[in-house]
């Protein structure tokens, strides 16, 4: 029993964080917003980091890592508000293909020539799919009507929902950091607005929500990786906790920014819109709530203090 990441996992996550911080800042989001929202150079950078092959078995040229590492990187993608379809391709599509034993074309995923947009019946629209375009509130999200046959495999749904939850924790972290930075520099009544308890306490509440959503996400990643019978419950728990934390943080962050928060000029809205989008993707709140409700009240899952890791 050791509820910690390994040094290797933390090093990997921080290297991805540093890379994205350096190459994928808000100015890049604005450029993508104006010039068409995908950039082969960004994708190539992710490929060169080895991220497309993170979960691809070593025999197919990948790194052969697991869902815990992928969830950590997905959180970094959320923090950077990454637009490229890395998470759906490499952390949802790839592990689903591997789980089904379908290894064809994974070399092309590793090399970046091929992206995956796995269609599941839970999603009425497909991110980075090839069908008719549908406009999302998130300007960097490419939604399409579903044209190919959609799967109803619960494992695919769990992978998608887990990675959404992981991204939402990173998005929430980023929004909280932006709000804190703004509260330090914006002065009113002769002092930084962040000195007022009215703001401090709201931001502290976001911190509580986000920090207690994270271990739920890591627990879900571990459960899905290990194939626990209860993995679906843990994934839904994670999606609920991460969604609620991100929505609270989004609303608090815009409030802290005041009128500036309502402008296009402040960066916050990119992350906020991503949070809105992911909150409903791969199973909305009602769907995941129902799965937790079934397990907890339905009696199919053992609860109580002795069942922390059931």
């Amino acid at each position: 029993m050791d509820f910690r990441f390994t040094d290797d996992q933390l090093t990997l996550a921080s290297s991805v964080r540093d890379y994205l911080e350096g190459t994928h800042g808000p100015q890049v989001l604005r450029r993508l917003d104006q010039e068409g929202n995908r950039d082969p150079a960004i994708w190539q950078g992710l490929v060169e980091m080895g991220l497309t092959g993170l979960l691809v078995p070593e025999e197919q040229g990948g790194l052969g890592l697991g869902l815990v590492e992928a969830a950590l990187i997905a959180a970094e993608c959320g923090r950077a508000c990454l637009a490229e379809p890395l998470v759906d391709t490499a952390f949802v599509g790839v592990p689903w293909a591997v789980a089904r034993g379908d290894l064809t074309g994974l070399e092309q995923v590793v090399s970046g020539e091929k992206t995956l947009a796995p269609a599941h019946v839970i999603n009425p629209w497909l991110a980075d799919g090839h069908g008719d375009h549908v406009q999302s509130v998130d300007p960097l999200r490419n939604l399409a009507k579903v044209e190919s046959a959609a799967s109803d495999d619960p494992h695919l749904l769990n992978l998608g929902a887990l990675m959404c939850a992981a991204q939402l924790t990173g998005i929430a972290d980023a929004m909280l950091a932006q709000a804190v930075e703004y509260a330090k520099i914006r002065t009113q009544f002769g002092q930084p607005v962040g000195a007022f308890q009215g703001l401090k306490h709201q931001l502290a509440s976001c911190s509580v929500a986000v920090e207690f959503a994270k271990p739920v996400v890591w627990r879900a990643a571990s459960a899905l990786q290990d194939g626990l019978a209860s993995a679906s419950l843990h994934v839904s728990h994670a999606k609920l906790a991460a969604t609620d934390a991100a929505m609270l943080t989004a609303e608090t962050a815009i409030q802290v920014h005041g009128a500036m928060g309502y402008t296009y000029e402040v960066d916050l809205h990119f992350w906020m819109k991503r949070a809105w989008a992911l909150a409903g993707a791969w199973g909305d709140r009602a769907f995941h709530y129902a799965r937790v409700d079934d397990a907890v009240l339905g009696g199919t899952f053992a609860i109580g203090p002795e069942n922390t890791f059931a």
């Binding site: 509820f3 962040g194 000195a195 308890q197 502290a204 906790a241 069942n307 922390t308």
Partner: protein, 387 residues
Amino acid sequence: MNLTYTPEQQAFRAEVRGWMEANVPKEPLVTLECREGYDAHVEWERKLASGNWGMVTWPEEFGGRGLDLIEWLIFEEEYFRAGGPNRANQNGIFLLGPTIMEFGTPEQKARFLPPMARGEEIWAQAWSEPGAGSDMAAIQSKAVRDGDHYVITGQKTWSSRAAFADWGFGIFRTDPESKRHKGLTFILFDINSPGITRRPIRQLHGDTGFAELFFDEVRVPVENCLAGEGQGWNVAMATAGFERGLMLRSPGRFQATAKRLVELYREHADRASPAAREAVVQAWGAAQAYAYNTYAVASKIMAGGKIGAEASLNKIFWSELDRTMHRTAMQLLGAAAELKRFDDGRINQWLEGYMFSLSGPIYAGSNEVQRNIIAERLLGLPRIGNG
């Protein structure tokens, strides 16, 4: 990340479960907040000690089993699974004990820890004063050095367990010229010393859980000072860290409450609102989240890490969760919520629990203070207007 127990840990769980099933009182004890209940709870502390369960993480020489924090969590889970009573000596074993372990001299450890583990000396805390609640640095009670003794004069209030306990600990101003956080000293005192008057305070439920302590030239030997004169604030902050961060409220307590809440929901499902139903499900989720986080903190400490200002996150989380769970129970009970005893004679534990849960966001540093700590020390917001 390895979220499975070793065979040794599973065997330990089985051992705890066996002992608890055989020994935990079948009927809930009378509340700790009255003489009769206090005595019953102290007797239970001694029963626990007879099984060598007083404080499992302490070294054997101090009455423990030398176990690690994961094993402590397993112990706590089984303790609450079995419905174990509240710990009369929680101020000692969970707060002062770890503080003595960190700051105490070998003599202090040998003197104070074993009787604490055996439940022979029950501890009260004496932090607050009438003018120093959330603002603890405003403490005025004085301890003046006189040869081998400190002479204490002043007043403490809202002191948990002080109505009946044997010993107390708190911080006192040893430097009369000092202000705020400086010049304070952490002192342990025998509550039955000449010059101490204790006046139990009647709490909102009618019982006497805490007390005022009046000190009139009370002589305390200097060897009862912890970590040296003038170090009181730092020692108190470490104690508060244990209190808020890890030990005071282990997750098993809230997981057990969440489970009972699910059972209560099932009894009242036909008339419960959808909102109450969702609150029940969310209570399970939040208690689990608290457990995962506690395992993460324990793992970190076992690997040599420390718990800092993030202790404030924990304190807010468990105290507000506890209040929410009990509020939900009151909603589920409906008209019966106000009954002190149900028609079948059972005590309305949910009502008692709800009243107690209202104190959670206040004691151990109010949640407003905790939110300031998070904002300033974790998020880095400016410290203005808080002294």
